[in-house]
């Protein structure tokens, strides 16, 4: 065990993945500089320019080429520099990456990983704070994964590389350095498709993922002081969604608060809430609360705090569901 932050854990996972000759990394500034967030630091030096490939500013080119490589039997890991810069590759992802298996009835496949730093909270310029996981979650044929701890980041990334299907791998920018934790020395994977009950509780289930786990954890701690015992559930995999774990928890607690920083309308929280209602309607003691970003552009630094769900907003939502 070593204590690592999330960027370091991801770096270790990439390094480990590169032990497989089929793995190549592609992205803007990932080699020479080690990436904007230094997640690929040192990998060019260690694995060489055929494995860690600095590319032109060309997201469709990156994803399209990675797709071709994957079809040819490699296991590419493409990086979008920020989620807000993944959209030029959107057509490649929705029209080809997610579909070649079905289009060819398993004859050709695209086992690639697209790493996407996402989320607000560092006061960055416009387009650097996006949280549009719902867009990718709505595309059949993709898997969408989002860790909230260094341990899961490592294990989920290696699972994504092993996965026979394309994976959108979201990395919460705010947690790159701030999330620290133990990571085993021996390689391991965390299975895609499994949510995790991070803290058991009996009064209410707080369901969150990625960057918002930080607020969710803080809220649970704060609520404990008001004698509210919140169960904390880390979604970890958005697609395929682990409905079972969510239902097991919510049917027990009877109350749920879903948290994400993406805009509210048509965000993934709507899907989670809808599923809870569909399957646990008669166990619910109160309507599910969604604590989300607003239907606005993420504000720039000076007003960002008005947008990103705060611990206070999560706590208030829990209090609301507890009222009934």
């Amino acid at each position: 065990m070593t204590e690592l932050n999330m960027a370091q854990a991801l770096n270790a996972a990439l390094d480990r993945a590169l032990a497989d000759e089929r793995v190549v990394l592609l992205g803007e500034d990932i080699g020479q500089t080690g990436g904007v967030f230094r997640v690929s630091d040192g990998l060019l030096e260690k694995h060489g320019p055929d494995r860690v490939i600095d590319t032109p500013v060309s997201e469709a080119g990156i994803v399209g080429a990675a797709y071709g490589m994957a079809v040819a039997g490699l296991r590419p890991i493409a990086e979008m520099q920020f989620m807000g810069f993944s959209y030029p590759a959107f057509d490649q992802i929705i029209s080809h990456v997610s579909r070649i298996r079905n289009r060819s009835r398993h004859r050709f496949t695209a086992p690639l990983v697209i790493r996407v730093p996402y989320g607000a909270g560092i006061g960055a310029a416009e387009h650097h704070s996006e949280s549009t996981e719902a867009l990718y979650a709505h595309i059949p044929g993709l898997k969408v994964v989002v860790p909230s701890t260094p341990h899961d980041a490592y294990g989920l990334l290696l699972a994504a590389v092993d996965d026979p299907d394309p994976v959108i791998f979201l990395e919460p920018i705010r947690l790159y350095r701030s999330a620290r934790g133990e990571v085993p020395e021996e390689p391991y994977t965390v299975p895609i498709g499994t949510a995790k009950v991070e803290k058991p509780g009996s009064d209410v289930t707080i369901i969150a993922y990625g960057s918002m786990m930080r607020e969710a954890r803080a809220a649970a701690t704060e609520l404990a002081q008001s004698d509210i015992d919140a169960e904390l559930l880390d979604v970890r995999t958005i697609i395929p969604f682990d409905t079972e774990t969510v239902l097991e928890s919510v049917t027990r607690t009877g109350r749920a608060v879903v948290v994400h920083e993406a805009p509210r309308t048509a965000g993934f929280g709507a899907e989670i809430a809808a599923q809870i209602y569909e399957h646990a309607f008669y166990s619910l003691l109160a309507p599910v609360e969604r604590v989300t970003g607003w239907d606005t552009v993420v504000p720039l630094r000076r007003a960002e705090q008005h947008y990103v769900p705060s611990v206070g907003r999560v706590v208030a939502a829990v209090h609301r569901v507890m009222e009934t």
Binding site: T55, A60, A65, Y67, H96, N102, F108, G141, T243
Partner: protein, 346 residues
């Protein structure tokens, strides 16, 4: 204006040096005849309602068959909805081509060992796939190349640019074959880009570009063979502009009378890609009416068999539409799969 490579003139005389001997030319001719028979058959099937819309390639057989004839089994072909002739001559079965057009996903599944991707329906996105495929082969240390075929219209898409740029930067063994048939549906070539030729666009990506008479199968063979050789030797990508003409509408649903003149059709009729080869072979004494009938009837038989095979396939069940979304159907999808089956029964 750049000169256009021509080897076989419209009257069947050689105006350059043939890259192949006559037995190969006979093979190219046979492939073109077969492809045209398929094209006519598919058009007829569509009229009978047995296929959904179909995109005929009649007139573009030389561009397609000449371009791919020298590819090796390990090489990749990434082509578009109009490239059935090229695809089939690389091993993609007529049956699969028909299946796609009947509206059956199994059309996208060529046999193992055939390195031909299902036809691209989106315009523009697929060229960069050929860059990735070629690149992967280089990284794996094979000498395989990837060829991609697309239309003049496709060069207007941003992804064409990104594909060309990547190929140039990484010197991937990719051959870009643009069939400039003069139209992107109703948009004439001159209004798609202010560039005089498409071939010259290569220059902006540091790769050679060549303008070729796309209705001259020998010129196409020659240009493509040189490009493939260069790529295989590690000397990077090439763009080939094949100047050609689609004889029919954009698809069977298109009324080309709305945007082009009968004169255009007439002008191109004399440039037909098949007839000039027939004249050449005839003059060389290696064509006969009897042989023509033989290859035609062999083609017809093979194509009829393909039609039968394609039409004999049972359509997908409701469950089957879920079965190739992932390697394994994930739990939430398995639930939907069950519900879909139940809905079907309801």
């Amino acid at each position: 204006m750049t000169e256009m490579l021509q080897i076989l003139d419209v009257d069947g005389t050689l105006v350059g040096e043939s890259p192949v001997d006559d037995s190969v030319t006979r093979g190219l001719y046979e492939a073109m005849v077969t492809a045209r028979i398929f094209d006519h058959k598919a058009t007829a099937l569509q009229r009978q309602g047995r296929l959904a819309t179909y995109a005929p390639y009649e007139g573009q057989e030389a561009a397609q068959i000449g371009a791919v004839a020298m590819l090796e089994p390990g090489d990749w072909l990434v082509a578009s909805y109009r490239d059935g002739a090229a695809m089939q001559s690389r091993g993609y079965p007529w049956t699969q081509l028909l299946l796609t057009r009947t509206g059956d996903e199994r059309g996208g599944r060529p046999p193992a060992g055939v390195n031909v991707l299902p036809p691209s329906i989106t315009v523009g996105a697929h060229m960069v796939h050929a860059v990735g495929l070629a690149w992967a082969e280089s990284l794996k240390g094979t000498d395989a190349v990837a060829m991609t075929m697309f239309g003049d219209g496709a060069t207007s898409e941003g992804d064409f640019h990104e594909a060309m740029n990547f190929a140039g930067v990484y010197q991937t063994p990719t051959i870009f074959v643009c069939q400039n048939n003069g139209w992107a549906i109703s948009m004439p070539r001159a209004r798609q880009t202010a560039s005089e030729t498409i071939a010259q666009k290569a220059d902006g990506y540091g790769m050679p570009g060549e303008l070729v008479d796309g209705n001259d199968v020998l010129a196409m063979y020659d240009a493509a063979a040189r490009a493939v050789d260069r790529a295989r030797r590690g000397e990077g990508p090439t763009l080939i502009e094949a100047v050609t003409h689609r004889i029919r509408g954009h698809t069977t649903a298109d009324d080309d009378g709305r945007y082009r003149s009968p004169e255009e059709t007439a002008r191109w009729a004399e440039r037909d890609p098949l007839e000039r080869v027939r004249l050449y072979l005839d003059a060389a004494g290696v064509w006969s009416r009897k042989w023509q009938e033989e290859i035609e009837s062999a083609a017809t038989a093979a194509i009829e068999a393909a039609v039968e095979e394609a039409e004999s396939l049972e359509p997908f069940t409701a469950e089957e539409i879920f079965d190739a979304m992932y390697a394994e159907v994930p739990p939430p999808l398995a639930i939907q799969r069950r519900r879909a089956a139940e809905a079907g029964l309801a």
